[in-house]
């Protein structure tokens, strides 16, 4: 299934280049999501289905949702309506749609081939990854949990905003 690998690589590179050349952040986010999906297809093709699922769920799902939230928060203002109108032009959706349709065609082709087996015979499934992760890399898991806790506390501290006291008492009464 070398053709799937090459097609996904081309989609990833084209999407990344288009992401870097966009002017608007939301358009760049669309292309970035397509690039991450293409890399997920490559992971599956290389025989790493667990990592491919995590790439879709966490990278293209959770992290990109954070980006979308921040871009929408920054967009508040007098130019928000103009930006919304520019977002709704159908020409901006053609590029990501074409690249996503290529990925969908690869996906359908993999499914229609009958065997859901990736390129090599022995793919490394979630069981081996889990055993290794919680076996010899247990210290790393603990350190990653501490890092995530630090990120949580840091983001909470940076996003904390001093509210006026009257507003707080009013909110607590009502």
């Amino acid at each position: 299934m070398t053709i799937v690998f090459y097609a996904s690589s081309a989609v990833a590179i084209v999407a990344t280049v288009l992401m870097l050349t966009r002017l608007h952040a939301v358009h760049a986010l669309l292309y970035l999501i397509v690039s991450l999906l293409a890399i997920a297809v490559i992971f599956y093709d290389l025989g790493a289905p667990f990592v491919a699922a995590l790439e879709v769920i966490i990278y293209a799902g959770a992290i990109m949702v954070l980006f979308v939230f921040v871009v929408m928060l920054l967009n508040l203002g007098e130019q928000a309506s103009r930006a919304e109108r520019a977002l709704l032009t159908p020409s901006m959706w053609i590029g990501p749609s074409v690249l996503a349709v290529i990925l969908l065609a690869e996906f359908i082709w993999i499914l229609m081939r009958g065997s859901a087996r990736p390129m090599q015979a022995a793919s490394i499934g979630p069981v081996e990854v889990g055993v290794t992760l919680f076996g010899s890399y247990l210290i790393g898991v603990e350190l990653a949990s501490m890092l995530l806790l630090g990120g949580l506390v840091g983001a909470y501290h940076l996003g904390w905003r001093k509210v006026p006291k009257t507003e707080v008492t009013h909110a607590s009464h009502s």
């Binding site: 070398t2 690998f5 090459y6 690589s9 990833a12 590179i13 990344t16 280049v17 992401m19 870097l20 952040a25 760049a28 986010l29 970035l32 690039s35 991450l36 890399i39 490559i42 992971f43 290389l46 025989g47 790493a48 667990f50 990592v51 995590l54 966490i58 990278y59 959770a62 992290i63 954070l66 980006f67 939230f69 921040v70 871009v71 928060l73 920054l74 390129m119 090599q120 022995a122 490394i124 081996e128 990854v129 055993v131 290794t132 992760l133 890399y137 790393g140 990653a144 890092l147 995530l148 630090g150 990120g151 949580l152 840091g154 983001a155 940076l158 996003g159």
Partner: protein
């Protein structure tokens, strides 16, 4: 046949694109997105290497990169919001006037 060399070449191309994005774009959100691309390219290299030797260690390292990217993005985007409220701009040149 496993396209090992092509996988590493793709990883290098994506990493270079992310580096170019960090160096060229003057928007903080674009810089963060380029950093994501670079982290993803590094993870791709790890997974390709892990596939080459049939070991799950490459995927384990990718999980660590994923956790690190999540923490980095949460703190980085909180910093972006804070800077936008202070400077009303996402231009990195505006922030370069900061002293301290």
């Amino acid at each position: 046949m496993l396209p090992i060399r092509e996988g590493f070449i793709l990883s290098g191309i994506l990493f270079t694109l992310g580096l170019i994005g960090v160096l060229v774009r003057r928007n903080l959100v674009f810089a963060l997105m380029s950093i994501e691309v670079m982290l993803n390219a590094a993870g791709l290299a790890f997974v390709v290497a892990g596939t080459r030797w049939r070991q799950p260690d490459g995927q384990v390292v990718f999980l660590f990169i994923l956790a690190m990217a999540a923490a980095e993005v949460s703190v980085g985007l909180a910093l972006v919001l804070e800077l936008y409220h202070q400077y009303k701009s996402l231009d990195t040149d505006a922030i370069s006037r900061m002293r301290g």
